[in-house]
């Protein structure tokens, strides 16, 4: 019995783990699994299968260890471990994921990490806002292998779990962030740390001791600035047994003075170098001068250019408000001066133009702050307004990356947006799983639009009438309890009633009802390979007719096409944005819609939901137009997985206040649609040829 079961399991495992290619000896594992209870066995099998779809080797390594561990670990823990491994794989690749699987032997000890530890994802949002609230440059919080900052970003590890209590671990993360913020805020990087440490026999040791000195200095800064946080930091130190060695106390005294700067730390470094290594405090990160130098170089020219251009704009605006008096010396160019008041941790900027104070706009303020943090002053040449065309645009803004160019040469995920995807097997989201880019549809200027309108001339006339009738108009509402004018008819009637002895109505007024149709709608059109041929043709015709109708109605609308190949190449084709008006270019783009690759739907729904959320409208509608079930050829998207992800994306849209509506032309769709479109309403069209007639009609019905 057990043998037969083992053979059965071995066959399954061979299949899932592709044993004929990977040469894993699955028989042993199968026998082991067969020995478990049916439930445990199914539990582990399920996870092996799921992880194997993420990566075969990962699935195998997980499977090899799982049966022995289940008893000690429990299912919840094991699930957490599996998800952790998969997430690690999604994020940083196979090797760290395998490490995560292999370290499962320590995982029993790591229980602490899972139960009380705080995950990066959990803290990043709150601490990101926390650090943006503090003064200075707007630092971003990202995940990295070591705690440090490059003065643009703060790096935190995946898990922080040094304390047995979750709240304390969060406090620890907060303290780490605050100390790194203090490094940028109180000028740790204003001197060249590499050079300063190079004089010592072991520069890396010097850097570590300097880090300790800076920690003392910055702790004192935090104590003055954020006393509440400093109390927490002291508690954390006590809890983890961090102490200030007696020999370091005199440093702490000197560096604790309000005027202490990085220069003082450097002066004390010689003495500190002689002392034994400083045992790092729990919230102390690392100093990474090389990362800082890189960020500084990347930032320096850009900020200078931006600041000078912004100042030129500001100057122009000022002179427009106050026309220059004739007495002013025209030869003397106007001069900006910037004064920074850093006393008392205040960091207040004052910008003056020819001695008169100017209120700098927010972006200028940010730039000035950033420059001041780098230099400790605002260098004079930064305050010279830029002349015309002095800078090319590449320095001034983040350049949009050509979506196709990133595929040439080394693969980058530069300039892309990331969207999560719901993994039904894991019952978790795969974070940042879909790499999404918006692309343009190459417009085709032909007479497609005209031909379509001619072909459906009768229908167009009907649509115009129908949609015009929908335009809600201002009308006078009679017999209102409250209004702008007296409703004489109602009043006469009421008076008669009163004479009559019956009850008198209080609805005696007329009120002007002003109808404001306030709808924004996004259309999401299937551009997958399966639409090739006359589905595509029908879609394009439908869109032309729809645009004709919507123009009559005045609703704001956008049209996007979706397609993709694998999660790495999810593409959304812009056909018409909300801001664009319906003109020749949009018509040409509709004409240029061509069938592309596969039908991954989740990312498109999520992205369009995000776009809709940014549009100010009372009602937001998302209409998807597809020819069948979601499909992608790789990473297990085909089938149930894709359906579940799409369902989840639609649920998210609904939660965000967007009304999803789906139009589909798959005749076999009736089995899965009710489930997939659970959150949305939908119609199935039996005949593709109906599409052009139906789409506008459907829209009319759902928004009436």
């Amino acid at each position: 019995m057990s043998e037969a079961r083992a053979a059965e399991l071995a066959a399954l495992l061979e299949d899932w783990l592709e044993a004929d290619l990977t040469f894993h000896k699955v028989e042993g594992l199968a026998r082991e699994l067969a020995g478990l209870s049916r439930e445990d066995c199914d539990f582990i099998l399920g996870w092996i299968k799921r992880i194997a779809t993420t990566h075969l080797e990962l699935g195998w390594q997980f499977g090899r260890r799982a049966p022995k561990l289940l008893a000690s670990m429990g299912r919840r823990q094991m699930e957490a471990w599996a998800v952790f491994a998969c997430d690690t794989y999604d994020r940083v690749g196979l090797r760290p994921a395998l490490q995560a699987v292999e370290q499962v032997e320590n995982f029993a000890d790591k229980q602490l990490e899972l139960t009380a530890g705080v995950l990066f994802e959990d803290v990043a949002g709150v601490l990101g806002n926390f650090v943006r609230g503090l003064s200075g440059r707007k630092l971003a919080i990202v995940q990295g292998e070591a705690v440090h900052t490059d003065t643009d970003k703060i790096y935190l590890p995946a898990v922080i779990a040094r304390l047995p209590d979750m709240d304390d671990n969060f406090r620890l993360a907060k303290a780490m962030v605050a100390l790194l913020w203090a490094q940028t805020r109180f000028g740790t990087f204003r001197v060249d740390l590499i050079e300063a440490c190079a004089a010592f026999p072991h520069p890396s040791r010097a850097l570590a001791q300097l880090n300790a000195l800076e920690t003392l200095r910055l702790s004192a800064c935090i104590e003055r600035e954020l006393p509440g946080l400093h109390r927490d930091m002291e508690r954390l130190k006590t809890a983890l047994g961090d102490v200030l060695p007696p020999a370091w106390q005199r440093f702490a005294r000197r560096l604790g003075e309000p005027d202490a700067s990085i220069e003082d730390s450097l002066r004390l470094l010689g003495d500190a170098y002689q002392l034994p290594d400083f045992a790092a405090w729990c919230f102390q990160g690392e100093l990474r001068p090389d990362a800082v130098a890189g960020a500084f170089i990347a930032r320096r020219d850009k900020e200078k250019a931006r600041l000078r251009v912004k100042l030129a704009e500001l100057l122009e605006e000022q002179s427009r408000h106050q026309p220059q008096s004739d007495t002013a010396d025209a030869a003397q160019p106007p001069a900006f001066e910037a004064e920074v008041d850093d006393s008392d941790g205040r960091l207040e900027l004052e910008l003056t133009l020819d001695g008169a104070p100017v209120a700098p706009p927010e972006d200028v303020r940010q730039l000035l702050t950033s420059v001041w943090l780098d230099f400790g002053e605002i260098p004079h040449d930064y305050l010279v307004p830029a002349g015309d065309g002095e800078y090319d645009a590449s320095l001034l803004g983040e350049q949009p990356v050509d979506p196709d160019a990133v595929w040439q040469g080394t693969y980058h995920e530069q300039g892309a947006l990331f969207y999560p995807e719901w993994d039904m097997g894991r019952q978790h989201y795969r974070k940042n799983w879909c790499v999404m880019r918006e692309k343009e549809v190459a417009p085709v200027f032909d007479d497609f639009a005209r031909a379509t309108l001619d072909k459906h001339a009768g229908l167009v006339k009907h649509l115009h009438r129908a949609f015009e009738a929908m335009r809600d108009e201002n009308r006078l509402l009679k017999r209102q309890p409250y209004g702008d004018d007296v409703d004489i008819d109602a009043l006469v009637e009421a008076m008669a009633d009163a004479r009559d002895g019956s009850e008198m109505s209080d609805r005696l007024f007329v009120r002007l009802h002003r109808a404001e149709r306030n709808i924004a709608v996004a259309f999401m059109v299937d551009m997958s390979g399966s639409t090739r041929g006359w589905i595509n043709e029908a879609e394009r015709e439908a869109l032309i007719l729809l645009c004709e109708a919507l123009e009559r109605l005045g609703d704001r609308y956008a049209i996007y096409g979706f397609s993709g190949t694998t999660r790495k190449r999810c593409e959304l084709y812009r056909i018409k944005t909300f801001e664009e008006s319906y003109g020749d270019v949009v018509k040409a783009r509709i004409s240029g819609i061509r069938a592309q690759e596969y039908t991954r739907m989740g990312f498109a729904i999520r992205h369009l939901t995000d776009l809709l959320k940014k549009v100010e409208a009372r009602t937001r509608v998302l209409v998807t137009l597809s020819d069948g079930r979601p499909d992608d050829y790789f990473d297990g998207y085909r089938g149930q997985y894709g359906i579940e992800d799409t369902r989840m994306a639609l649920l998210e849209a609904r939660r965000a206040g967007v009304h999803p509506f789906c139009v589909t032309i798959d005749r076999e769709a009736r089995d899965y649609l009710p489930h997939m479109y659970g959150a949305a309403r939908y119609v199935i069209l039996d005949d593709v040829a109906e599409l052009p007639f139906k789409v506008s009609d459907i829209y009319r019905r759902i928004t009436r």
Partner: protein
């Protein structure tokens, strides 16, 4: 104690309201008033626009009629309408008409909230004609010299739908309000709420942190008004962190993550 009922045009401010001048706004307002120019107050919520109006009404000793605009406010709501009383229709003046008749100050708060077609009724009042057409009565009301029209507007919402039309805004003398400087704000918080200088200092520091968050998830930072609320709670014996949560954090956002972040900021400051 009974609430005191007043007709709007009898609403004189008797007691000097507490107001700290930020710049030359008082002088500009007075000059504009003397020259019969309407005034536009710009600035974020809770930075003292309404208090400034009360102060000016007290200074000039004119009745102050405030209308809080909303998106259903019609022209009749401002000008007046016929009502039915005992079988007859009688005309009832709206607040704007009342202010014109008595030569008071009419303050239309958050004017952009009103519908665009409502805003145009103030146009003839806001230029050198200084008249209020009352179409339903078939009359034209000429404003006396001491009538003054003031409107307020918060440009921070950055919504295209809630922008002030050029034809409206270009009739006004604009006064820009912003959060006061740290020094001044400290004084305001201390004197309005009664907390000591050190606590006021921390409250102001905290408020500035929340203002740094504007644009990254917060629509607007904590206003001076909220700080005064928090200060009053603290003065009433509430723990500062709890007071900031109740009076500030919850007031500026509903977003759980943002609330948590603001909470972390306040627990760091106090």
């Amino acid at each position: 104690m009974d609430a005191h009922a007043l007709a709007p045009e009898e609403h004189y401010i008797r007691k000097q309201p507490y107001y700290e001048a930020v710049g030359n706004e008082i002088a500009i307002f007075e000059a504009a008033y003397r020259h019969k120019l309407p005034i536009l107050l710009k600035g974020p919520t809770g930075c003292g626009k309404t208090r400034f109006m009360e102060y000016m009404a007290w200074r000039l000793q004119r009745p102050l009629i405030t209308v809080s605009c909303h998106d259903d406010l019609t022209a009749s709501d401002l000008v007046g309408r016929y009502l039915v009383k005992g079988g007859e229709t009688v005309w009832v003046d709206g607040p704007l008409t009342r202010a014109v008749r008595v030569g008071g100050i009419c303050y239309l708060d958050e004017i952009v909230e009103a519908r665009k077609d409502t805003m145009v009724v103030i146009h003839p009042l806001a230029d050198d004609r200084r008249t209020l057409p009352m179409e339903k009565l078939g009359q034209l009301l000429e404003a006396p010299d001491d009538f003054c029209l003031a409107i307020s507007y918060n440009p921070g919402y950055q919504s295209v739908l809630k922008d002030l039309k050029q034809s409206t805004r270009q009739r006004f003398v604009a006064l820009e309000f912003d959060y006061p400087t740290a020094e001044l704000e400290r004084r305001i918080v201390a004197s309005e709420s009664g907390v000591d200088a050190a606590m006021a200092d921390k409250l102001v520091k905290f408020a500035r942190m929340t203002r740094n968050l504007k644009g990254s998830g917060l629509e607007e930072g904590a206003s001076t008004r909220l700080l005064v609320h928090a200060g009053k709670l603290i003065n009433g014996g509430i723990d500062p962190v709890a007071a900031c949560r109740g009076a500030v954090a919850q007031a500026v956002t509903d977003d759980a993550d943002m609330l948590a972040a603001i909470q972390e900021l306040s627990s760091s400051v106090f």
